[in-house]
Symmetry: C2
Subunit: 403 residues, 2 copies
Amino acid sequence: MPLVVQKYGGTSVGDADRIRAVADHVARTRRAGAEVIVVVSAMGKTTDDLIRLAGEVSSVQPPREYDMLVSSGERISTALLCMALAELGVLASSFTGSQAGIVTDTDHTKAKIVDIRAGRLTEALQAGKVPVVAGFQGVSTERDVTTLGRGASDLTAVALAAVLGADVCEIYTDVTGVFSADPRVVPDAHKLSRVSFEEMLEIAAAGGRVLHLRSAEFARNHNVPLQVRSSFTWEPGTWIVEEDTSMEQAVVTAVIHDTSQAKVTVGGVPDKPGIAARLFRSLADVSVNVDDIVQNASVHGTTDISFTVPRTDLKTAVEVAGRLVEDLGADDVTSDEDVAKVSVIGAGMKSHPGVTATMFETLAEEGINIDLISTSTIRISCIVRMEDVERAVRALHRAFELA
Amino acid sequence: MPLVVQKYGGTSVGDADRIRAVADHVARTRRAGAEVIVVVSAMGKTTDDLIRLAGEVSSVQPPREYDMLVSSGERISTALLCMALAELGVLASSFTGSQAGIVTDTDHTKAKIVDIRAGRLTEALQAGKVPVVAGFQGVSTERDVTTLGRGASDLTAVALAAVLGADVCEIYTDVTGVFSADPRVVPDAHKLSRVSFEEMLEIAAAGGRVLHLRSAEFARNHNVPLQVRSSFTWEPGTWIVEEDTSMEQAVVTAVIHDTSQAKVTVGGVPDKPGIAARLFRSLADVSVNVDDIVQNASVHGTTDISFTVPRTDLKTAVEVAGRLVEDLGADDVTSDEDVAKVSVIGAGMKSHPGVTATMFETLAEEGINIDLISTSTIRISCIVRMEDVERAVRALHRAFELA
């Protein structure tokens, strides 16, 4: 009997009706002859509401307590979904991250999975039950409740699929799949029926919100067959697949933009070994996720180092960099929140060197100034002004003929 | 250093301001030189909201899933209180029932504590922290989340106080103590500075909502010094003490009423051995809490058995009794939701036999009909019509000169 892991995001279980719709789909999947493990997020904006409440209560939020707080929303949705399944005659049992055997390190709010002891889930499957697992959370080696970072319910699903050898991991969300650009910005963006893991990783890293970055990485590393689908239309979604080198590849697959980042620049840094290492080690020590890093060529023995971070980490990043300015012998730290990133992504780019030029020409024709540039073998990203980013996405989508 | 267990009910942690006020009181208790363990309920109506949501999702609510659902509210308040304490510079750690080592049987929604393994709490105390424990919940011997029944956060507090040898267990609520009658019904009711465990048990059993019945029993059996206090005024409350036989005792201490019960009557029951046993065993098997039981004298070889149950258990009780009617050879089952109970309680009653007569005379003078009567050595209870109960309380409070 095939084993399917289905993950439902917050909008998919947003109210009582949605939970019943999900239960119905799980029941149909069972009737079609599959074993099912379900992973759920917290209902709708529950987690945001809890975070806001925490802000009202205290300006000091110890990470261990933050995790205890925000992990409660998923418990609620697991229990409610099990009740809805019970009404349909489907045996189901809810499991917290801890009960599901998801063991993590002790890095609260951003914990990493170190082990999965899925004995209780396999027992439930053997008893003919549907295990319903609380996403986004685990239990630390110190026996405390941990969370895996915002959006990491996908990771729970992918990790369970890997460990239990699932035949497919279906990520249900409020969009019907991965698009060539955000359809809210580019109305004629089209749904991709397949996208390679490599591309998906770059799409996620570039800010495409469909799939959580660490989840895509994990799925790739563990060969988990992955499909992103809509729980509102139930139509076939986008498969995330191993790259098929026998086929002709699109030069550019998608244009992705991200408005959640901010830019930090450390100016006048002495051009000598070890400086960047100290800066980024200090940022890593306080768990700031640095995205792009750009260092300009050295002029007169000093250089500037710019990097982007999630806007939520900006305050911490500026503080850490500020403390280091004197130590490093640098001039100053500046930051800019009014920026956005636009990226073009495509596995075919590896054998088509003209893409970079086309991208820069397109932005130049639109009169859009480029602030930073970073590239990988299958992605080119530019930091532009926030007010230019949607125009940039539309122009690039046209230029690479993605409509 | 004295050890104080403080329990805060739902209204005491009802919003961000209330949580900060509680944190402030905990910090003051610490500064006064005591070690503190805190037990909290869910904020305000959180648990009621979750139960309503479950009703919207499904008519079938497996008890295991119900417990997973309703236990989440306490997690939220523990984490928020720890954050508020952190802002005041007080080290604190939240603990779920499971993390606090509260091991229960597997009788979901009404689980009984079978063991307390408080190692993590004593470690936290030794590390100079305030453990903040989620009330009302534990982990079963099957490693599932259980709850101890509505209102059982008091039980969590009392049980921890007993196991850890606390010097006092303070139950903070929205009233300032135990009163001679409900002040909303009897404006000149007065606060009792001390009440014996025996009286407190009868007050709780009679429907006095100040302290949870099983908690009062547990406190008595384990000699836990208990005080009921207000978290709104912080004024001294009511001590629950061992009966002091050297003192002259009030004949009647309090008049308590309860409007949460319903009455079931099984009519025309053959008057032979084993009938009552079968009926009440069947009710116990489905965890219906039967309160008063009255069996009238046998007439023509048959009798009527009446009993009261919490109104929430009425449907189940009527179904169970109905199934037994044929088996038992009884006539029928009738039920009445429009009833209420009024009780007079007093340790001095043991040596003052006139109390019963005074009670019945008082009700008769008010023209209030008595439906059922039950008594203990220090309590007399009458079931009356719902619309008569407040008048009965006021008349009895006057008659026994409690103002």
